[in-house]
Amino acid sequence: MPDIASRRSLVKNLNAKIAAIPMMLTATVVFVGCTLWTVVYSFTNSRLLPGGDWVGLAQYERLWGTRRWLISVENLAIYGFLMLVFSLVIGFLLAAIIDQRIRFEDAFRTIFLYPYALSFIVTGLVWQWLLNPEFGIQAAVRSMGFETFAFDPLYNSDLVLYGVIVAGLWHGTGLVMCLMLAGLRGIDEDVWKASRVDGIPAWKTYIFIVIPMMRPVFVTTLVLITASIIKLYDLVIAQTGGGPGLSSEVPAKFVFDAMFVSQNLAQGFAASTMMLVAVIFVIIPWAYLEFGGKKRG
Protein backbone atom coordinates (compact mmCIF):
# COMPACT_ATOMS: atom_id res chain seq x y z
CA MET A 1 0.00 0.00 0.00
CA PRO A 2 2.25 2.84 -1.18
CA ASP A 3 -0.48 5.42 -0.53
CA ILE A 4 -0.64 4.72 3.18
CA ALA A 5 3.11 4.46 3.41
CA SER A 6 3.58 7.90 1.93
CA ARG A 7 0.91 9.35 4.19
CA ARG A 8 2.60 7.77 7.14
CA SER A 9 5.94 9.31 6.23
CA LEU A 10 4.20 12.68 5.97
CA VAL A 11 2.71 12.32 9.43
CA LYS A 12 5.92 10.97 10.84
CA ASN A 13 7.66 13.51 13.08
CA LEU A 14 4.72 15.83 12.54
CA ASN A 15 5.65 18.05 15.48
CA ALA A 16 9.09 18.67 14.09
CA LYS A 17 7.68 19.46 10.68
CA ILE A 18 5.16 21.95 12.04
CA ALA A 19 7.87 23.56 14.11
CA ALA A 20 10.02 23.99 11.01
CA ILE A 21 7.30 25.75 9.01
CA PRO A 22 8.09 29.31 10.20
CA MET A 23 11.74 28.92 9.32
CA MET A 24 10.88 27.40 5.95
CA LEU A 25 8.58 30.34 5.24
CA THR A 26 11.26 32.79 6.33
CA ALA A 27 13.81 31.12 4.11
CA THR A 28 11.61 30.99 1.03
CA VAL A 29 9.62 34.20 1.34
CA VAL A 30 12.09 36.51 3.03
CA PHE A 31 15.44 35.30 1.72
CA VAL A 32 14.68 33.85 -1.69
CA GLY A 33 11.58 35.96 -2.37
CA CYS A 34 13.12 39.28 -1.46
CA THR A 35 16.31 38.42 -3.30
CA LEU A 36 14.38 37.72 -6.49
CA TRP A 37 12.34 40.89 -5.99
CA THR A 38 15.53 42.92 -5.65
CA VAL A 39 17.06 41.39 -8.77
CA VAL A 40 13.89 42.02 -10.80
CA TYR A 41 13.63 45.65 -9.73
CA SER A 42 17.30 46.25 -10.53
CA PHE A 43 16.20 46.15 -14.19
CA THR A 44 13.87 49.13 -13.72
CA ASN A 45 14.48 52.82 -13.23
CA SER A 46 12.94 52.94 -9.74
CA ARG A 47 13.86 56.02 -7.79
CA LEU A 48 12.55 56.76 -4.30
CA LEU A 49 9.93 54.03 -4.54
CA PRO A 50 10.02 50.73 -6.41
CA GLY A 51 8.22 50.82 -9.74
CA GLY A 52 9.24 52.64 -12.87
CA ASP A 53 9.88 51.33 -16.33
CA TRP A 54 11.86 48.37 -17.52
CA VAL A 55 15.28 49.60 -18.62
CA GLY A 56 17.14 46.33 -19.09
CA LEU A 57 20.79 46.46 -18.14
CA ALA A 58 21.05 50.27 -18.04
CA GLN A 59 21.54 50.32 -14.26
CA TYR A 60 24.40 47.84 -14.56
CA GLU A 61 26.03 49.82 -17.34
CA ARG A 62 25.90 52.94 -15.21
CA LEU A 63 27.13 51.03 -12.16
CA TRP A 64 30.25 49.70 -13.88
CA GLY A 65 30.92 53.14 -15.33
CA THR A 66 30.86 54.74 -11.88
CA ARG A 67 34.31 55.22 -10.44
CA ARG A 68 33.07 55.13 -6.88
CA TRP A 69 31.73 51.60 -7.43
CA LEU A 70 34.99 50.45 -8.99
CA ILE A 71 36.93 51.89 -6.04
CA SER A 72 34.53 50.14 -3.66
CA VAL A 73 34.98 46.78 -5.36
CA GLU A 74 38.75 47.13 -5.39
CA ASN A 75 38.77 48.10 -1.71
CA LEU A 76 36.64 45.12 -0.78
CA ALA A 77 38.93 42.81 -2.73
CA ILE A 78 42.01 44.11 -0.91
CA TYR A 79 40.26 44.10 2.45
CA GLY A 80 38.83 40.63 1.84
CA PHE A 81 42.10 39.07 0.79
CA LEU A 82 44.16 40.53 3.63
CA MET A 83 41.43 39.90 6.18
CA LEU A 84 41.11 36.27 5.14
CA VAL A 85 44.83 35.58 5.17
CA PHE A 86 45.73 37.49 8.31
CA SER A 87 42.79 36.48 10.48
CA LEU A 88 43.41 32.81 9.63
CA VAL A 89 47.16 33.04 10.18
CA ILE A 90 47.03 35.16 13.32
CA GLY A 91 44.05 33.25 14.70
CA PHE A 92 45.78 29.93 14.18
CA LEU A 93 49.07 31.12 15.64
CA LEU A 94 47.34 32.50 18.73
CA ALA A 95 45.45 29.26 19.14
CA ALA A 96 48.64 27.20 18.71
CA ILE A 97 50.40 29.32 21.35
CA ILE A 98 47.55 29.03 23.80
CA ASP A 99 47.36 25.32 23.10
CA GLN A 100 50.86 24.88 24.61
CA ARG A 101 49.13 24.55 28.01
CA ILE A 102 50.30 28.00 29.01
CA ARG A 103 49.45 29.53 32.34
CA PHE A 104 46.40 31.84 32.58
CA GLU A 105 44.99 30.35 29.41
CA ASP A 106 41.47 31.47 30.31
CA ALA A 107 42.61 35.04 30.86
CA PHE A 108 44.35 35.23 27.49
CA ARG A 109 41.41 33.62 25.72
CA THR A 110 39.09 36.17 27.26
CA ILE A 111 41.33 39.07 26.31
CA PHE A 112 41.61 37.94 22.71
CA LEU A 113 37.93 37.17 22.34
CA TYR A 114 36.68 40.33 24.01
CA PRO A 115 36.84 42.63 20.98
CA TYR A 116 34.38 40.32 19.25
CA ALA A 117 31.79 41.22 21.88
CA LEU A 118 31.94 44.85 20.72
CA SER A 119 29.97 46.06 17.75
CA PHE A 120 31.73 47.23 14.62
CA ILE A 121 30.55 50.75 15.40
CA VAL A 122 32.37 50.76 18.74
CA THR A 123 35.42 49.10 17.18
CA GLY A 124 35.47 51.67 14.40
CA LEU A 125 35.17 54.58 16.81
CA VAL A 126 37.90 53.25 19.11
CA TRP A 127 40.30 52.84 16.22
CA GLN A 128 39.31 56.17 14.74
CA TRP A 129 40.43 57.77 17.99
CA LEU A 130 43.56 55.63 18.28
CA LEU A 131 44.66 56.52 14.77
CA ASN A 132 43.59 60.15 14.96
CA PRO A 133 46.68 62.37 14.84
CA GLU A 134 45.27 64.91 17.31
CA PHE A 135 44.68 62.59 20.27
CA GLY A 136 45.70 59.07 19.24
CA ILE A 137 48.93 57.15 18.90
CA GLN A 138 50.70 60.02 17.10
CA ALA A 139 49.88 62.48 19.90
CA ALA A 140 50.94 59.97 22.57
CA VAL A 141 54.33 59.27 20.97
CA ARG A 142 54.91 62.97 20.33
CA SER A 143 54.16 63.79 23.96
CA MET A 144 56.92 61.35 24.92
CA GLY A 145 59.39 63.60 23.16
CA PHE A 146 59.47 62.36 19.57
CA GLU A 147 58.25 65.61 18.06
CA THR A 148 58.48 64.63 14.42
CA PHE A 149 56.76 61.26 14.76
CA ALA A 150 54.04 60.97 12.13
CA PHE A 151 51.44 58.22 12.13
CA ASP A 152 48.29 59.32 10.41
CA PRO A 153 46.88 56.45 8.34
CA LEU A 154 43.21 57.46 8.37
CA TYR A 155 43.86 60.75 6.61
CA ASN A 156 46.11 59.26 3.96
CA SER A 157 44.39 57.87 0.86
CA ASP A 158 47.02 55.17 0.38
CA LEU A 159 46.96 53.89 3.94
CA VAL A 160 43.40 54.33 5.11
CA LEU A 161 42.30 50.86 4.04
CA TYR A 162 45.03 49.27 6.15
CA GLY A 163 43.81 51.26 9.13
CA VAL A 164 40.39 49.69 8.59
CA ILE A 165 41.93 46.23 8.19
CA VAL A 166 43.80 46.57 11.49
CA ALA A 167 40.54 47.40 13.25
CA GLY A 168 38.80 44.50 11.49
CA LEU A 169 41.55 42.08 12.54
CA TRP A 170 41.48 43.30 16.12
CA HIS A 171 37.75 42.66 16.13
CA GLY A 172 37.68 39.31 14.35
CA THR A 173 40.80 37.28 15.14
CA GLY A 174 39.63 36.39 18.66
CA LEU A 175 36.75 34.39 17.28
CA VAL A 176 38.98 32.68 14.74
CA MET A 177 41.38 31.84 17.56
CA CYS A 178 38.60 30.26 19.64
CA LEU A 179 37.38 28.16 16.73
CA MET A 180 40.94 27.06 15.96
CA LEU A 181 41.56 26.28 19.60
CA ALA A 182 38.47 24.09 19.69
CA GLY A 183 39.77 22.37 16.56
CA LEU A 184 43.21 21.84 18.07
CA ARG A 185 41.69 20.43 21.25
CA GLY A 186 39.71 18.03 19.11
CA ILE A 187 42.89 16.45 17.74
CA ASP A 188 43.55 13.15 19.44
CA GLU A 189 46.46 13.26 21.89
CA ASP A 190 47.71 10.01 20.34
CA VAL A 191 48.45 11.81 17.07
CA TRP A 192 50.87 14.04 18.89
CA LYS A 193 52.43 11.12 20.72
CA ALA A 194 52.90 9.19 17.50
CA SER A 195 54.54 12.12 15.75
CA ARG A 196 56.80 12.67 18.72
CA VAL A 197 57.84 9.02 18.67
CA ASP A 198 58.69 9.39 14.99
CA GLY A 199 60.79 12.48 15.82
CA ILE A 200 58.76 14.87 13.66
CA PRO A 201 59.26 18.53 14.68
CA ALA A 202 56.22 20.25 16.14
CA TRP A 203 55.80 22.78 13.28
CA LYS A 204 55.79 19.97 10.73
CA THR A 205 53.18 18.12 12.72
CA TYR A 206 51.02 21.24 12.73
CA ILE A 207 51.29 21.92 9.01
CA PHE A 208 51.14 18.40 7.58
CA ILE A 209 49.03 16.50 10.10
CA VAL A 210 47.02 18.75 12.39
CA ILE A 211 45.87 21.36 9.87
CA PRO A 212 44.60 18.79 7.33
CA MET A 213 42.73 17.08 10.18
CA MET A 214 41.14 20.40 11.12
CA ARG A 215 39.55 20.87 7.70
CA PRO A 216 35.95 21.15 8.99
CA VAL A 217 36.99 23.87 11.43
CA PHE A 218 38.71 25.76 8.65
CA VAL A 219 35.62 25.53 6.46
CA THR A 220 33.40 26.92 9.22
CA THR A 221 35.87 29.71 9.96
CA LEU A 222 36.16 30.55 6.29
CA VAL A 223 32.39 30.90 5.93
CA LEU A 224 32.19 33.15 9.00
CA ILE A 225 35.06 35.38 7.88
CA THR A 226 33.78 35.66 4.31
CA ALA A 227 30.33 36.65 5.51
CA SER A 228 31.80 39.37 7.72
CA ILE A 229 33.92 40.64 4.83
CA ILE A 230 31.07 40.94 2.33
CA LYS A 231 28.84 42.84 4.72
CA LEU A 232 31.60 45.30 5.73
CA TYR A 233 29.76 48.57 6.28
CA ASP A 234 29.44 49.79 9.85
CA LEU A 235 33.17 49.59 10.55
CA VAL A 236 33.88 51.95 7.65
CA ILE A 237 31.02 54.26 8.64
CA ALA A 238 32.33 54.60 12.18
CA GLN A 239 36.00 54.75 11.35
CA THR A 240 36.40 56.75 8.16
CA GLY A 241 33.00 57.54 6.66
CA GLY A 242 34.42 56.30 3.36
CA GLY A 243 37.13 58.94 3.30
CA PRO A 244 39.46 60.58 2.76
CA GLY A 245 37.75 61.27 -0.52
CA LEU A 246 36.42 57.95 -1.76
CA SER A 247 39.42 55.89 -0.73
CA SER A 248 37.76 53.67 1.85
CA GLU A 249 34.38 53.22 0.18
CA VAL A 250 32.94 49.69 0.16
CA PRO A 251 30.12 48.11 -1.88
CA ALA A 252 27.65 47.84 1.01
CA LYS A 253 28.02 51.57 1.65
CA PHE A 254 27.52 52.24 -2.05
CA VAL A 255 24.26 50.29 -1.91
CA PHE A 256 23.02 52.13 1.15
CA ASP A 257 23.91 55.56 -0.21
CA ALA A 258 22.38 54.83 -3.60
CA MET A 259 19.12 53.66 -2.04
CA PHE A 260 18.63 56.08 0.83
CA VAL A 261 20.75 59.15 0.10
CA SER A 262 20.57 59.41 -3.68
CA GLN A 263 17.07 57.92 -3.62
CA ASN A 264 17.93 55.74 -6.56
CA LEU A 265 16.62 52.32 -5.52
CA ALA A 266 17.31 50.59 -8.81
CA GLN A 267 20.96 51.60 -8.80
CA GLY A 268 21.29 50.29 -5.25
CA PHE A 269 19.53 47.07 -6.27
CA ALA A 270 21.92 46.63 -9.19
CA ALA A 271 24.88 47.07 -6.87
CA SER A 272 23.49 44.63 -4.31
CA THR A 273 22.78 42.13 -7.09
CA MET A 274 26.43 42.37 -8.10
CA MET A 275 27.37 41.65 -4.49
CA LEU A 276 25.10 38.61 -4.57
CA VAL A 277 26.70 37.42 -7.80
CA ALA A 278 30.12 37.74 -6.17
CA VAL A 279 28.96 35.64 -3.22
CA ILE A 280 27.51 33.02 -5.55
CA PHE A 281 30.78 32.84 -7.46
CA VAL A 282 32.53 32.05 -4.20
CA ILE A 283 29.92 29.69 -2.79
CA ILE A 284 29.13 27.47 -5.77
CA PRO A 285 32.63 26.11 -6.35
CA TRP A 286 33.04 25.62 -2.62
CA ALA A 287 29.69 23.85 -2.25
CA TYR A 288 30.56 21.68 -5.23
CA LEU A 289 33.85 20.68 -3.66
CA GLU A 290 32.31 20.18 -0.26
CA PHE A 291 29.08 18.36 -1.08
CA GLY A 292 29.45 17.43 -4.75
CA GLY A 293 29.21 13.78 -5.73
CA LYS A 294 30.10 11.97 -2.56
CA LYS A 295 28.45 11.76 0.82
CA ARG A 296 30.56 13.09 3.62
CA GLY A 297 31.64 11.14 6.66
Binding site: T66, S157, G245, Q263
Partner: protein, 233 residues
Protein backbone atom coordinates in the same frame (compact mmCIF):
# COMPACT_ATOMS: atom_id res chain seq x y z
CA UNK B 1 45.37 76.64 7.83
CA UNK B 2 43.42 79.19 5.80
CA UNK B 3 40.14 77.31 5.48
CA UNK B 4 38.49 74.86 7.89
CA UNK B 5 36.53 72.10 6.21
CA UNK B 6 34.67 69.13 7.70
CA UNK B 7 35.34 65.89 5.85
CA UNK B 8 31.74 64.79 5.48
CA UNK B 9 30.53 64.62 1.91
CA UNK B 10 27.61 67.04 2.23
CA UNK B 11 29.89 69.80 3.52
CA UNK B 12 32.14 69.50 0.51
CA UNK B 13 29.17 69.58 -1.83
CA UNK B 14 27.90 72.64 0.03
CA UNK B 15 31.24 74.39 -0.40
CA UNK B 16 31.27 73.55 -4.12
CA UNK B 17 27.83 74.99 -4.71
CA UNK B 18 28.60 78.07 -2.62
CA UNK B 19 31.56 78.62 -4.93
CA UNK B 20 29.26 78.02 -7.90
CA UNK B 21 26.90 80.83 -6.83
CA UNK B 22 29.54 83.18 -5.42
CA UNK B 23 32.35 82.87 -7.97
CA UNK B 24 30.31 81.77 -10.97
CA UNK B 25 27.31 83.95 -10.16
CA UNK B 26 23.62 83.10 -9.94
CA UNK B 27 23.17 82.93 -13.74
CA UNK B 28 25.85 80.27 -13.97
CA UNK B 29 24.28 78.37 -11.10
CA UNK B 30 20.80 78.39 -12.62
CA UNK B 31 22.00 77.65 -16.14
CA UNK B 32 23.63 74.50 -14.84
CA UNK B 33 21.12 73.19 -12.37
CA UNK B 34 17.85 74.58 -13.71
CA UNK B 35 18.53 74.60 -17.47
CA UNK B 36 21.03 71.71 -17.38
CA UNK B 37 23.16 73.23 -20.08
CA UNK B 38 25.94 70.66 -20.47
CA UNK B 39 27.75 72.66 -23.12
CA UNK B 40 27.87 75.63 -20.78
CA UNK B 41 29.24 73.33 -18.07
CA UNK B 42 32.32 72.78 -20.22
CA UNK B 43 32.84 76.52 -20.67
CA UNK B 44 35.18 79.08 -19.08
CA UNK B 45 32.68 80.33 -16.43
CA UNK B 46 32.50 76.91 -14.84
CA UNK B 47 36.26 76.45 -15.27
CA UNK B 48 36.85 79.40 -12.89
CA UNK B 49 34.66 77.69 -10.32
CA UNK B 50 36.66 74.48 -10.56
CA UNK B 51 39.85 76.52 -10.35
CA UNK B 52 38.48 78.07 -7.14
CA UNK B 53 37.69 74.58 -5.87
CA UNK B 54 41.28 73.56 -6.61
CA UNK B 55 42.45 76.59 -4.58
CA UNK B 56 40.14 75.52 -1.77
CA UNK B 57 41.70 72.07 -1.95
CA UNK B 58 45.08 73.60 -1.14
CA UNK B 59 43.65 75.92 1.50
CA UNK B 60 41.86 73.15 3.40
CA UNK B 61 44.88 70.83 3.49
CA UNK B 62 45.25 69.31 6.94
CA UNK B 63 41.69 70.08 7.94
CA UNK B 64 40.96 66.72 9.53
CA UNK B 65 37.69 67.44 11.30
CA UNK B 66 34.68 65.32 10.36
CA UNK B 67 31.71 67.34 11.62
CA UNK B 68 30.96 70.91 10.60
CA UNK B 69 30.86 72.11 14.19
CA UNK B 70 34.33 70.68 14.89
CA UNK B 71 35.54 72.57 11.82
CA UNK B 72 33.82 75.69 13.20
CA UNK B 73 35.69 75.11 16.46
CA UNK B 74 38.98 75.30 14.55
CA UNK B 75 37.95 78.80 13.43
CA UNK B 76 36.76 79.74 16.93
CA UNK B 77 40.06 78.64 18.45
CA UNK B 78 42.03 80.52 15.85
CA UNK B 79 43.58 77.46 14.15
CA UNK B 80 41.82 78.21 10.88
CA UNK B 81 41.13 81.43 9.06
CA UNK B 82 37.58 80.80 8.02
CA UNK B 83 34.91 78.32 7.05
CA UNK B 84 32.37 78.07 4.26
CA UNK B 85 29.10 77.01 5.87
CA UNK B 86 25.41 77.81 6.14
CA UNK B 87 24.09 80.56 8.40
CA UNK B 88 23.40 78.07 11.20
CA UNK B 89 27.11 78.01 12.01
CA UNK B 90 26.60 81.39 13.67
CA UNK B 91 25.02 79.57 16.62
CA UNK B 92 28.33 77.78 17.30
CA UNK B 93 30.22 81.07 17.39
CA UNK B 94 27.67 82.70 19.65
CA UNK B 95 27.68 79.71 21.99
CA UNK B 96 31.46 80.02 22.24
CA UNK B 97 30.96 83.54 23.56
CA UNK B 98 32.03 85.38 20.44
CA UNK B 99 30.12 88.42 19.22
CA UNK B 100 29.20 88.81 15.57
CA UNK B 101 30.78 91.88 14.02
CA UNK B 102 33.41 92.11 16.76
CA UNK B 103 35.05 88.68 17.11
CA UNK B 104 33.93 87.19 13.83
CA UNK B 105 32.13 88.28 10.72
CA UNK B 106 30.28 86.82 7.77
CA UNK B 107 31.14 87.21 4.13
CA UNK B 108 27.96 86.74 2.18
CA UNK B 109 28.64 85.10 -1.18
CA UNK B 110 32.38 85.30 -0.41
CA UNK B 111 32.08 89.01 -1.15
CA UNK B 112 31.56 88.33 -4.86
CA UNK B 113 27.95 87.60 -5.68
CA UNK B 114 26.01 88.22 -2.48
CA UNK B 115 23.33 85.63 -3.02
CA UNK B 116 21.62 83.31 -0.60
CA UNK B 117 20.71 79.74 -1.47
CA UNK B 118 17.39 79.29 0.26
CA UNK B 119 16.50 75.89 1.57
CA UNK B 120 14.18 74.87 4.33
CA UNK B 121 13.03 71.85 6.19
CA UNK B 122 9.33 71.13 6.03
CA UNK B 123 6.78 69.90 8.52
CA UNK B 124 4.19 67.50 7.17
CA UNK B 125 0.97 66.66 8.97
CA UNK B 126 -1.01 63.52 8.26
CA UNK B 127 -4.60 64.10 7.10
CA UNK B 128 -6.81 63.23 10.06
CA UNK B 129 -10.59 63.45 10.47
CA UNK B 130 -10.76 63.89 14.24
CA UNK B 131 -11.45 67.63 14.79
CA UNK B 132 -9.53 67.64 18.09
CA UNK B 133 -6.40 66.38 16.35
CA UNK B 134 -6.87 68.81 13.47
CA UNK B 135 -7.08 71.65 15.94
CA UNK B 136 -3.91 70.46 17.65
CA UNK B 137 -2.15 70.33 14.28
CA UNK B 138 -3.27 73.90 13.58
CA UNK B 139 -1.93 74.92 16.94
CA UNK B 140 1.47 73.41 16.27
CA UNK B 141 1.65 75.15 12.89
CA UNK B 142 0.57 78.44 14.44
CA UNK B 143 3.18 78.23 17.20
CA UNK B 144 5.98 77.35 14.77
CA UNK B 145 5.23 80.30 12.52
CA UNK B 146 4.39 82.71 15.31
CA UNK B 147 6.56 85.85 15.01
CA UNK B 148 7.69 85.53 18.64
CA UNK B 149 8.80 81.91 18.07
CA UNK B 150 10.60 82.90 14.91
CA UNK B 151 12.47 85.71 16.64
CA UNK B 152 13.57 83.49 19.53
CA UNK B 153 14.48 80.58 17.29
CA UNK B 154 16.49 82.54 14.76
CA UNK B 155 18.29 84.39 17.53
CA UNK B 156 19.46 81.07 19.01
CA UNK B 157 20.25 79.41 15.71
CA UNK B 158 21.77 82.45 14.09
CA UNK B 159 19.76 81.93 10.93
CA UNK B 160 17.17 83.96 9.07
CA UNK B 161 13.44 83.71 9.83
CA UNK B 162 11.13 81.99 7.35
CA UNK B 163 8.75 84.98 7.47
CA UNK B 164 9.82 88.25 5.98
CA UNK B 165 7.43 90.36 8.05
CA UNK B 166 9.18 89.58 11.32
CA UNK B 167 11.06 92.36 13.03
CA UNK B 168 14.22 90.85 14.55
CA UNK B 169 15.37 92.23 17.87
CA UNK B 170 18.84 93.66 17.34
CA UNK B 171 19.96 91.29 14.59
CA UNK B 172 23.69 90.59 14.32
CA UNK B 173 25.55 92.15 11.36
CA UNK B 174 25.50 88.70 9.75
CA UNK B 175 21.74 88.40 10.01
CA UNK B 176 21.39 92.00 8.85
CA UNK B 177 23.37 91.24 5.69
CA UNK B 178 21.22 88.18 5.11
CA UNK B 179 17.98 90.09 5.54
CA UNK B 180 19.14 92.76 3.12
CA UNK B 181 20.01 90.14 0.53
CA UNK B 182 16.62 88.52 1.02
CA UNK B 183 14.79 91.82 0.64
CA UNK B 184 16.75 92.70 -2.48
CA UNK B 185 15.64 89.37 -3.94
CA UNK B 186 19.21 88.06 -4.10
CA UNK B 187 18.09 84.49 -3.59
CA UNK B 188 18.61 81.34 -5.63
CA UNK B 189 16.89 78.04 -5.15
CA UNK B 190 18.85 75.46 -3.24
CA UNK B 191 20.49 72.87 -5.45
CA UNK B 192 18.41 70.31 -3.56
CA UNK B 193 15.22 71.65 -5.08
CA UNK B 194 16.68 72.01 -8.59
CA UNK B 195 18.11 68.54 -9.28
CA UNK B 196 17.27 65.05 -8.05
CA UNK B 197 19.07 63.53 -5.08
CA UNK B 198 20.58 61.06 -7.53
CA UNK B 199 22.24 63.80 -9.60
CA UNK B 200 23.34 65.62 -6.48
CA UNK B 201 24.84 62.37 -5.21
CA UNK B 202 26.93 62.06 -8.38
CA UNK B 203 28.10 65.67 -8.05
CA UNK B 204 28.95 65.07 -4.40
CA UNK B 205 31.02 61.99 -5.25
CA UNK B 206 32.93 63.97 -7.86
CA UNK B 207 33.62 66.90 -5.52
CA UNK B 208 34.65 64.60 -2.66
CA UNK B 209 37.07 62.73 -4.91
CA UNK B 210 38.43 65.96 -6.38
CA UNK B 211 39.08 67.53 -2.99
CA UNK B 212 40.85 64.44 -1.67
CA UNK B 213 43.16 63.86 -4.62
CA UNK B 214 45.65 66.65 -5.50
CA UNK B 215 46.37 64.90 -8.81
CA UNK B 216 42.77 65.21 -9.98
CA UNK B 217 43.06 67.99 -12.58
CA UNK B 218 40.64 70.87 -13.02
CA UNK B 219 40.00 69.99 -16.68
CA UNK B 220 39.27 66.36 -15.93
CA UNK B 221 36.84 67.13 -13.12
CA UNK B 222 35.07 69.78 -15.18
CA UNK B 223 34.61 67.33 -18.03
CA UNK B 224 33.09 64.80 -15.64
CA UNK B 225 30.87 67.49 -14.15
CA UNK B 226 29.59 68.39 -17.63
CA UNK B 227 28.82 64.70 -18.15
CA UNK B 228 26.73 64.65 -14.97
CA UNK B 229 24.89 67.83 -16.00
CA UNK B 230 24.16 66.25 -19.41
CA UNK B 231 22.41 63.31 -17.73
CA UNK B 232 20.95 65.30 -14.82
CA UNK B 233 17.32 65.01 -13.88
Amino acid sequence: MPLAQGQQAWQKQLMFNVLMVSIGGPETFLRLYRDRDAEFAEGPEVATVFQALADARVMTEGSNAQEWNIAARMVIEGQAGGQIMGDWVQGEFTQAGLAAGEDFTCLLGLGEHEYIAAAGDAFYFPLIEDPAVVEAQDNVARVILDPATQVAFTAAKGALPVRRDVELQDPTPCMQAGIEALQAGQVVDSVNSLVSPDTLGQITDLVVEFLADPDFSVEESQAEFAQIIATAD
